[in-house]
């Protein structure tokens, strides 16, 4: 390995260690309260996800119902109007509102404990395979229409907290997003979800 590459590797390792140290206390705090502490963190996250779901359902009810045999113009109009309404209603939304540091730590730990070795490599390959470099990580902004979706590993979906049907987990690089499947808005995101 060349000297510059060695320095970069050491720097990356140091940064990773610092990140782990900063995250550890949050998960430790949840764990310290016992299994019920972590369960409460998950329950609180699911409640926040349901709050978003109720908000967007209430707003969507104000729109003309989209036919299940719609024309593209109707689909596009519905999405655009719906998107605008939700963005306005969540004008102050910021990163961490739904993915609080506590639940982010729990999710990172779930992924780390469930995936190791070959399985982790396969998970990373699946996630990193998609071309998502241009996707901006901005809460309350639309996921680009032309952006590729990452196949969410089914085994991971079975282990993560359950979401209302309108919300989706989505990887962009190693970051995990919450995306509204109809209006396409990024509801929240957490960084460094993958070890």
């Amino acid at each position: 390995m060349k000297p510059n590459a060695r320095k970069l590797t050491a720097l990356a390792a140091g940064l990773a260690a610092l990140l782990c140290l900063s995250l550890a206390p949050r998960r430790a705090a949840a764990q310290a309260a016992g299994p019920s502490g972590e369960a409460q963190t998950v329950a609180a996250f699911e409640a926040r996800a349901k709050d978003y779901s109720r908000l967007r359902e209430d707003l969507e009810e104000k729109l003309p119902k989209l036919s299940k045999e719609a024309k593209p113009e109707q689909i596009a109009a519905h999405k655009e109007t719906f998107q605008g309404m939700v963005r306005q209603a969540r004008a102050g939304a910021k990163q961490g509102d739904v993915f609080t540091p506590e639940i982010a730590a729990v999710i990172r730990a779930v992924i780390k404990s469930e995936y190791a070795g070959q399985e982790l490599r396969e998970l990373r390959e699946t996630v990193m395979e998609a071309e998502t470099q241009g996707v901006p990580l901005r809460v309350n902004y639309p996921y680009p229409e032309s952006g590729e979706l990452v196949e969410m590993p089914p085994t991971l979906l079975l282990k993560l907290p359950q979401l209302p049907k309108q919300l989706r987990y989505r990887f962009v690089g190693t970051n995990l997003l919450l995306v509204d499947r109809e209006n396409g808005l990024i509801v929240d995101y957490m960084t460094s979800a993958l070890p």
Binding site: L66, S67, K68, E69, A70, K71, P72, E73, Q74, I75, A76, K79, E122, L123, T126, E129, A130, E145, S146, E148, L149, V150, E151, M152, P153, P154, T155, L156, L157, L158, Q162, K165, R168, R181, E182, G184
Partner: protein
């Protein structure tokens, strides 16, 4: 036609037993491709395409062969294996990448049933021509065949439970699953979706799914039967990744990655006949599959 003549004209194909026989030559402009399917009365006939949504000249050329093949093989519907739209989903995209390309088939009342790929927004499920009726996953029945369109982008607990429930009460003779990501693949770019396979394969085996159709890889591949299930990849309906099939893959029965292609399928009784045509109208694979557990005898050169 002698084997030598076949080699001179266009090449060879293999049936499910690995028997080799002559294929049709390249089809000239305006000519309909030679159909090798039996076209039996009462059979379920359909076409399979994947990864179509480009709006390119090549997609249109393949569509031309699809349209021409309907004269001799009147398929009733088309299964779409995802990536139905690339690079945007404005109304103009639906026109250019789908409606204009397949207009003759739409005019002939051929029904398209879509599944979602990793380039598809969930809202495609509302598009009238994709006949998803607002659902990301659904089941449809044609004759004695049940088709399961799945959303392999997001195989969550709800979908898994739905699949279990539906299959458990399904007494159809044939069960065919179609979705985007291939559980088995010899592709270099993507390869097998092993995470998906871990979840769906046990369900398929438990409930006797016969055939799985997938896209995502931009080529055609007939996979050797895996635990008794037949897998096909047909992902070259609008894009092509030449040379992407790994040589000497233990999975491959037949593969074709030199040009774009689509499948014609006829299910008649206990037999599933298939023929794969390229953009130039060449037959690049063909054969017949006996329904697992049936008494159907598979004989070579049935087509």
């Amino acid at each position: 036609m002698t084997m030598a003549a076949a080699l001179l004209l266009g090449g060879l194909a293999h049936d499910a037993l690995g028997q080799t026989y002559a294929t049709g030559a390249k089809v000239g402009a305006g000519a309909a491709p030679r159909i090798l399917l039996p076209v039996r009365e009462g059979s379920v006939r359909f076409l399979v395409i994947g990864d179509t949504g480009t709006g390119t000249q090549q997609q249109k050329q393949l569509a031309d062969v699809m349209i021409k093949s309907r004269a001799a093989f009147p398929y009733e519907f088309v299964l779409m294996l995802g990536d139905n739209m690339y690079g945007g989903e404005k109304p103009a995209d639906f026109k250019v990448k789908f409606e204009d390309v397949y207009r003759p088939l739409l005019d002939q009342k051929v029904t398209f049933y879509a599944s979602l790929g990793n380039h598809d927004e969930s809202n495609q499920r509302f598009y009238d021509h994709f006949n998803m009726k607002g659902e990301e996953y659904y089941r449809l029945e044609k004759g004695d065949v049940s088709f399961y369109s799945l959303n392999s982008n997001y195989m969550d607990k709800k979908q898994v439970q739905w699949l279990e429930d539906e299959l458990s009460r399904d007494d159809s003779k044939w069960k065919v699953a179609f979705f985007h990501h291939p559980p088995y693949s010899s592709g270099g770019k993507h390869g097998s979706s092993s995470g998906l396979r871990k979840v769906v394969e046990p369900i398929f085996l438990k409930h006797g799914v016969n055939v799985v159709l997938a896209g995502h890889e931009h080529f055609y591949e007939r996979i050797k039967p895996q635990k008794g299930i037949y897998y096909f990849i047909s992902g070259a309906g609008g894009k092509l990744r030449k040379g992407d099939v790994k040589e000497n893959s233990p999975l491959t029965e037949v593969a074709y990655d030199k040009d774009m292609s689509f499948m014609l399928v006829e299910i008649a009784g206990d037999e599933m006949h298939f023929q794969v045509l390229s953009r130039t109208g060449e037959t690049v694979d063909s054969g017949v599959i006996a329904r697992q557990g049936s008494d159907a005898a598979v004989s070579p050169n049935k087509n």
